[in-house]
Symmetry: C2
Subunit: 139 residues, 2 copies
């Protein structure tokens, strides 16, 4: 199990856009702050764009955050870049065994509640808070 770096990268990108608002931020410049390849940055920005969190214009530098930082939660970011369910079940339990026949339902219930708990925690933090945490620390 493991959630890849895409989510971290997405939060980093949005933090840069929020922190250095108005300045030129090319994908290469952002890549330098994040420590990854510029193409990865452009791909993640594409996911954020498709989720409605940023707007971009092909050929023009940078990206713009689509709505106030207070109205973007980390769950929004998470959903933008991670589409699969957190848990997965073994796909072929034996329907002729009473346990095998019922375990999927049981697991789905548990998985749903567990992922919901994690997502509720992500939903409680807005990008606004994340960006402000940098400013405070930097002061």
């Amino acid at each position: 199990m493991r959630i890849g770096n895409r989510f971290s990268i997405a939060v980093h990108i949005l933090s840069l856009l929020g922190t250095f608002e108005g300045e030129d931020q090319t994908s290469e410049w952002m890549a330098g702050s994040i420590g990854v390849n510029p193409v990865i940055v452009r791909n993640v920005i594409g996911m954020l764009r498709r989720a409605g969190l940023v707007t971009t214009q092909q050929g023009a530098k940078g990206a713009h955050i689509a709505r106030p930082l207070k109205k973007i939660t980390l769950l929004d970011v998470f959903r933008a870049v991670e589409t699969e369910d957190l848990f997965s079940s073994h796909p072929r339990p034996n329907p002729n065994c009473p346990v095998g026949a019922q375990i999927q339902t049981t697991l789905e219930d548990i998985y749903g509640r567990s992922q919901a708990a994690m997502e509720a925690e992500l939903k409680a933090t807005t990008l606004d808070k994340v960006v402000k945490s940098f400013k405070v620390k930097a002061a």
Copy 2:
């Protein structure tokens, strides 16, 4: 991101041990109920053994649950088979950028709280409940 099937398989194995207590349950028989290869079953049982959840005897069939089902939570099972952190961060943020220099701390905080929320949910369910859910449904 995705938690693999090991956790599902582990819950399935413990459910079988709890449901068909006292009966012969070879790794091959369990594999038939789960729908995976017997070697996978033996490997997962090995992880459960190292976590102190089951006992086994080499050469002898099956495995025994090491303590009452009421005292085994799904979090115990989860920790037995999933050792890595749920989230991972991009490993090389630029320390010369104010965002890059501080984002890891911010992300670690968020990740810790999110994983804790998920684990709290897992901790709230005992294997006892899982096994009883089968009996009720089967009745």
